[in-house]
Symmetry: C2
């Protein structure tokens, strides 16, 4: 729904410009599959942006590093998400597989794939970029103005929503990844989670890559 709206609203802006200038027929497919193991690099910051990707299974992080090693993870990409679409010629962020991951790889210039099914993929790509902008701006509020506990609450609720999981949320990423996404340290992430558990709001099974949201209402209240 949101997807449809986004595309519909944007279409007049995007299409008034230049007419599609289709090149010769090229080999396409629905995008070749490629598998990456955990922590494997998909592309580096500054690489030529020859492809974009859709997550089939697994999880991906896009990030940027400062010279002294500080890292900011711009976002996590879960199955169904598209990432790696760039405005310019090169990737502005690096991308790595968080866990073992399968991607559908699309050549950026593959017009045939983009036009298939009335441009379903193209619309999906545009929607992905719009969504990325929305999420980036929403994340700015989190990073600029929210407390550690609020950040964690936001993060857990967002993840639950994205994975459509009622209460049990799987965390593909480490505490360190979460910290670098939320602008915190590992210790702060761990402490905040522990506090939420002590308050009975969440549950942390022995498998630490899982969280059970016991009390979403309170969690939502915690998220400013």
């Amino acid at each position: 729904m949101q997807f449809a709206l986004a595309t519909a609203g944007l279409a007049p802006l995007l299409n008034a410009g230049s007419a599609p200038h289709l090149g010769p027929r090229q080999e396409a497919g629905v995008g070749s599959r490629r598998r990456f193991e955990a922590d494997e690099e998909i592309y580096a910051e500054g690489d030529r942006a020859a492809h974009f990707y859709k997550v089939v299974s697994g999880a991906v992080r896009t990030y940027k590093l400062l010279d002294d090693g500080r890292r900011q993870i711009a976002g996590f990409h879960l199955p169904g998400d598209i990432f790696g679409v760039e405005a310019g010629e090169e990737h502005r962020f690096g991308a790595e597989a968080v866990t073992e991951t399968t991607l559908a790889v699309h050549r950026r210039s593959d017009r045939e794939a983009l036009a298939r099914d009335g441009g379903a993929l193209a619309r999906e790509v545009v929607a992905a970029m719009m969504g990325a902008l929305d999420r980036a701006q929403e994340h700015m509020i989190l990073l600029g103005r929210k407390s550690a506990k609020e950040r964690i609450a936001s993060f857990l609720l967002g993840l639950a929503e994205r994975t459509r999981s009622a209460t049990a949320v799987e965390l593909p990423m480490s505490r360190g990844d979460i910290a670098d996404h939320l602008g915190l340290t590992v210790e702060s992430v761990s402490r905040s989670l522990t506090q939420l558990e002590r308050a009975g709001i969440i549950e942390l099974p022995t498998n630490r890559r899982m969280v059970v949201l016991r009390d979403k209402a309170t969690l939502r209240r915690l998220d400013a």
Copy 2:
């Protein structure tokens, strides 16, 4: 240049989808002018996104508020910048004039204006969105990982670059606006500026809405 690249790179993705479906001829113009006084609201968060805007003169801030009044300013828009383009049906952020400001207002659905000059405006709009994404993601690093002094250094350098001003940068916005953009408090902004001045890196004329960048090299080094 960057503009051309951005548009060129994106075109294949954007145009493969649906053909432009031009409606009846409509009154267009290059966008009607509208004047706003300082702190006047241009649109509120949640308003229907019927128009988008280009700054002719002055400055605009786009922002979002949390329930308890905390504010995050997503960005400042200076002459030449386009803002207010949305993926969905409504504005996700509010917009206010920072100083007395003149805007060119474009009806979102005005295909004629968008197509004029071979779609120059349409390309500009797309580039604007791409640029917004870039800046939003870059800002995430600042908010997530940089210290107060680094944030101020980044901010001053960025402003100098955007206004193409060699050394003297005008600050249309208050310390409070800067704080809410950089995820700090007014006091921290003021202190950081004072420190930079004491270190001889910048100069703060008695007119506090001005900054002279005395030592850009050091400033760049301070910005991580």
